[in-house]
Amino acid sequence: MAVPRVVIIKAGNLWTSTGAVDPAVITKMFARGFALLTGERGDAGAISSLFRPGDRVGIKINTIGGKALSTRPDVALPFAGWLSQSGLQAKNLFIWDRTTRELRDAGYGTSADRSGIKVFGTDADGVGYESNLVSHLSVGSLFSKIQTEFATASVSLALLKDHGLAGVTAGMKNYFGAIHNPNKYHDSRCNPFVAEVFDAPPVKSKHKVSILDALIVQYHKGPSYHARWAAKYGGLIFSLDPVAADAVGWSVIEALRVAAGLPALKDEGREPVYLATAEKMGLGRADLASIETVEERVA
């Protein structure tokens, strides 16, 4: 197995004076992140190395945490816009999560414009879950039709945060939002369920890239928002290896915890053991020593 690469892109001028995020800077972060990830110089080259021109790309975001702690609209919308300017058709791009309510609560305006980028939940009219169970290892779930039918390619644009049960929630666990019964898979620190949901054909066969929104990272007491333990990390984390992306995300959380004087997740008995399981299942690399991490800042 080749050494997987994880790219961390930060930007000095990311935040505007009002505390918002500059979408132009975000777009630059995506462009640089994909360039470093794929080795392609141009945006179109980077995109074409991952997607086919006719792909319908589902951008799975995480909006369970409301406006304060979800994949930010000012990250997801510029990303989709950049994809549409880099070779994919806007009409074939959709940003999605479980419910319209959660999308709205997180600040997304839902849209089903035929020619444009769409934003909608699995509960939207005409969508829903598959009626046939996918039984895969110890998981038995109905998958969102967005994942199974609408999308031909999938991006996990997840929020990086601490999770009281799983330890860390990031790109892989984001796909819990693609099944109808995620509440059934939080036992034993979500292990092996995070890995097994990812390994299920509707996800594994379509997943192309993990991107972690780490602009603000909840490094303790997640997955709920607590301003006291939320840090402006200001980064986006990219990887074609879903396990490596999350492993690096975990290291970011640990570093923030150390800086805040908090114990390591392992000391709290909740390190994300599902990453080791995922590695054993051949989904990617969990050991930081076997991952190439590249960090850059864009102007």
Partner: protein, 373 residues
Amino acid sequence: MKRRQFIRGAAGAGLVVGAGLPSVCSGLAVFGAKPNLSHVEARYYDKLPDREVECRLCPRKCRLGDKERGYCGVRENIGGTYYTLVYGKVCSLNVDPVEKKPFFHFLPGTSALSLAAAGCNVNCKFCQNWEISQVRPEQVDHFDLPPERAAAQAIEAGCPSIAYTYTEPTVFFEYMYDTAVRSKRRGVRNLVVTGGHINPEPLADLLAVVDAVKVDLKGFTQEFYAEYVRGELKPVLETIRAVAKSKTWLEIVYLVIPTLNDRMDLIREMAKWVRNEVGDHVPVHFSRFQPMYLIKNLPPTPVSTLEAARETAREEGLHFVYVGNVPGHEGENTFCPGCGKVAVQRVGYRITSIQLKAGRCDTCGTPIPGVWT
């Protein structure tokens, strides 16, 4: 309300009504189910710092941050207060023979208004009703049936009891409890069909207001519970003990699944436990498994296995042991432990004769435990 009005009412709620008995039982609402969830504060939980809560309803004791739901998927922490999302949100409503629950020693030949809200606190791989139990409430069609109306509907449908069944009623505890209190005042009895994963405190409160509990004892090893139920055996046994000690009528069902929980030595051990811990008078039903949900690679239970289980339990001294899901089988009948004659004869869910007088065998006068009137 006449039956026709009842049916129309359910149909007006946008639900499927079958021919014959009033029947509302939906599967997954695939297309755009609109959430219509309750926000009634849950009982049995602790508020913790940082807007966290810990549920005390069932042995899982889910500890949840803001905006998170418990394992059951129907109780949510919203801003540090815990809510039930399914209070009065009925996803399945039928008039069933009480024998279908099954209760064989509780008002035989009567009907029970049988209702459910979505959700469950375990995840049995052989669940027969997974389309309503293993989903979140916004994923099924449901309609509002407040406790008072449930009681009224039971009376109007000619049902002397309400059964909380199909899913796991523990997870809609608040609704079940309030409905039981209101219906009891109106002379309607209350039956609970449960997997038994409930903590002692809410169970004690529940037993004060319900009349009968049927516990699904799904196996007799912790390994089976861990792998196939995603639960624990010990609290289930504690629940069975607590029901037996109360004034509430108890029956036990053991679904026999080929190769998974059909070892006769374990069934013998279970029968001994029932005899020693809760009494030889407690009815035990050995039910036939049908391939379902996540276990479709096993055949239905051979009738011979059910017969062997029944014989084993009887050898251990249990007096009322039944074979379930095999219509017409002799093991559906209640035999008098005194004279061996048939005291209650059944074919499927139908009672064909009752040879009891004031709870005693018509032939020899031996008391047959149960709630007969």
